[in-house]
């Protein structure tokens, strides 16, 4: 296989400064929003949405990385570096959480002593839903996630220089308990951060659905990045033929699993029609939220599903990247739809004023921009293709076959 000359190389430092600039503007708007009584509460909520999106991409990448260590396969090899760079943003994401930890009582009823006193239901849950315990749990989650991300990145670097199969085995050995830890932590984290926004509501499916959303975010992001970077030749050659198609098929599978979990929960709550469950969906079908819900059905499931059924779409770089970016955008919409209608009790959640809507966009763009800049910084620290890998040969073969 001959190496083609580098035709056009994306200017990563330039992208990084643009992302940083856009991020700074977004954050500035959020900070300005804090100054006004009417928008302050929206800044907190918007920050929660932005945090869930960025932590979702970082953690989802961690899961896909561990999944690839556990199951093997050529697809993981070419996705390795974007995934690793995304997981190494974990310290930044941890930093994003800190402001939330300080304003728990503005977001969660269970963190507000006056409300807990008035509600026996909240008193029952106070054993679990209380501020100190929530902080301790958040500390445990972040400690585990940071450690997993740190170790997998560090060992992968060592493997580049040491070229030692033992290090690869070590990654595999860490990934099995890593997956178990992820499932446990994300189950409780999703209860702590999102489900308990409506403390009267509960669903056993929620953790699985939320976690699957993260896996989808991480994978869609990594696929989109890989294709955009693929003009950088060392990985670019590996995105040809079957490898790209496999990534498309996996994206399809993840989209289908997400839709399956979401639809199952909806169907069961719709059919049960119980007063303690069904209001959750009623709030999300009120006002403009129903259009957002409809958008999710069409653009989060139906359109990517139909497009990814086609082999031609999966083999076309531009099409595959567009579908992945669409899914990523819909992840943000889904998180908005899950989080914001939860505040139906107190203020204009059903129909937020224009200024408040701007805050949500600013927070998503701002936190996303800063996060992306940090991601690019991590990405540029190492070559885009791992230097040593047992799957490298298969990946090269897969790129040639099926042209």
């Amino acid at each position: 296989m001959s190496t083609a000359p580098v035709v056009e190389q994306p200017n990563l430092p330039r992208w990084q400064s643009i992302a940083l600039l856009v991020g700074a503007i977004g954050i500035a708007i959020c900070l300005a929003g804090l100054a006004f009584e009417t928008t302050r509460v929206h800044v907190f909520r918007a920050w929660l949405v932005g945090f869930c999106l960025t932590v979702g991409i970082a953690l989802g990448s961690l899961v896909v990385l561990m999944l690839q260590y556990l199951t093997g396969g050529d697809w993981g090899f070419i996705l390795r570096r974007p995934l690793e760079a995304a997981t190494s943003t974990m310290p930044l994401v941890t930093l994003f959480y800190l402001p939330l930890a300080l304003v728990l009582s503005s977001l969660y009823e269970w963190a507000d002593p006056a409300k807990v006193e008035a509600d026996p239901h909240l008193q029952h849950k106070a054993l679990y839903l209380n501020v100190p315990f929530a902080w301790i749990r958040a500390g445990i989650y972040f400690a585990i996630w940071n450690l997993l991300a740190f170790l997998l990145n560090r060992w992968s670097r060592q493997q580049d220089t040491a070229r030692d199969m033992a290090i690869h085995k070590r990654c595999e050995a860490l990934s099995a308990p890593g997956m178990v830890l992820y499932v446990l932590t994300i189950t409780f984290a999703s209860v702590d951060w999102v489900m308990s926004l409506e403390p009267e509501w509960f669903s056993t499916m929620y953790g699985a659905m939320f976690g699957m959303g993260q896996v989808l975010s991480g994978f869609a992001f990594a696929v989109a990045m890989l294709v955009l970077l693929s003009r950088r030749l060392e990985v670019g050659q590996l995105t040809g033929g079957n490898n790209l198609r496999d990534l498309g098929s996996l994206l399809l599978a993840f989209v289908m699993v997400w839709a399956y979990l979401s639809f199952s929960q909806f169907l069961l709550i719709y059919s049960g029609n119980l007063p303690e469950e069904v209001p959750w969906y009623i709030y999300r079908f009120e006002g403009g939220w129903k259009y957002l819900g409809l958008m999710l059905v069409i653009f989060h499931f139906a359109l990517p599903f139909v497009l990814l059924l086609s082999t031609n779409v999966k083999r076309n770089r531009a099409m595959l990247a567009s579908v992945a970016l669409l899914v990523l955008l819909m992840r943000a919409v889904d998180l908005l739809w899950l989080i914001v209608p939860a505040f139906h009790h107190n203020s204009e959640a059903v129909n937020p004023p224009l200024g408040a809507r701007l805050i949500y966009v600013a927070a998503l763009v701002g936190m996303g921009g800063i996060w992306f800049a940090y991601f690019l910084m991590q990405l540029q620290r190492w070559p885009l293709a791992p230097a040593f890998n047992p799957y490298a040969e298969g990946a090269v073969h897969g790129a040639v076959a099926g042209h």
Binding site: F263, F266, L267, Y270, N273
Partner: protein, 180 residues
């Protein structure tokens, strides 16, 4: 009336390995033969290309089968619940679409799967109890460990003597004339 002697079906050449069959098919295709087919005990990647055959329409048929199955499934539920016998069950709307999805889904899969199986058999012309190649005794090994290339007499380039020579030049172990 049965004619005294039918023209032969064609010639069949036996090869030792999958590789030899693919190389022979490529050469025969380059030599201008069109009406030919390879026979092997397992699917060989690339043999279709080597023989110069085009891709098939089965995926399209299966897609249509699935869509038709799904439409039938949903419209059956819609018709019976809204027009034929509207029944209030637990205060749900007559068109309770979330609850119609499972049956619609199963019908989609059933339609597509039946199309895939019977479409494949139909396009392949199976079941086909009689085929001229079954006259060739060694052809029984095509389901074991031998590889065959058959060129049919209907091919415009076919000539009993020339084609036999050509097949022998490809390294065939044995070339046999296949009666009709």
């Amino acid at each position: 009336m049965i004619p005294q002697e039918l023209p032969p079906y064609g010639l069949v050449a036996e090869f030792d390995s999958a590789q030899a069959l693919v190389v022979a098919a490529e050469k025969a295709r380059d030599a201008g033969y069109q009406k030919m087919d390879g026979y092997s005990p397992f699917p060989i990647e690339g043999l279709m290309d080597a023989l110069g055959h085009k891709a098939n329409i089965l995926p399209l048929l299966v897609l249509i089968g699935g869509v038709v199955g799904g439409l039938i499934g949903y419209s059956l539920q819609y018709y019976t619940s809204i027009y034929s016998y509207p029944l209030n069950v637990g205060g749900r709307p007559y068109n309770s679409w979330p609850m119609f999805i499972p049956v619609t889904f199963e019908c989609t899969i059933l339609g597509a799967a039946l199309t895939a199986v019977f479409g494949m058999l139909g396009l392949n012309g199976l079941p086909e109890p009689y085929h001229p190649l079954f006259h060739v005794e060694r052809f029984a090994l095509a389901s074991r460990d031998r590889f065959f290339l058959a060129i049919r007499a209907v091919d415009p380039k076919f000539d009993l003597i020339q084609t036999r020579k050509f097949l022998e030049s490809l390294g065939a172990k044995e070339v046999t004339e296949v009666p009709q």
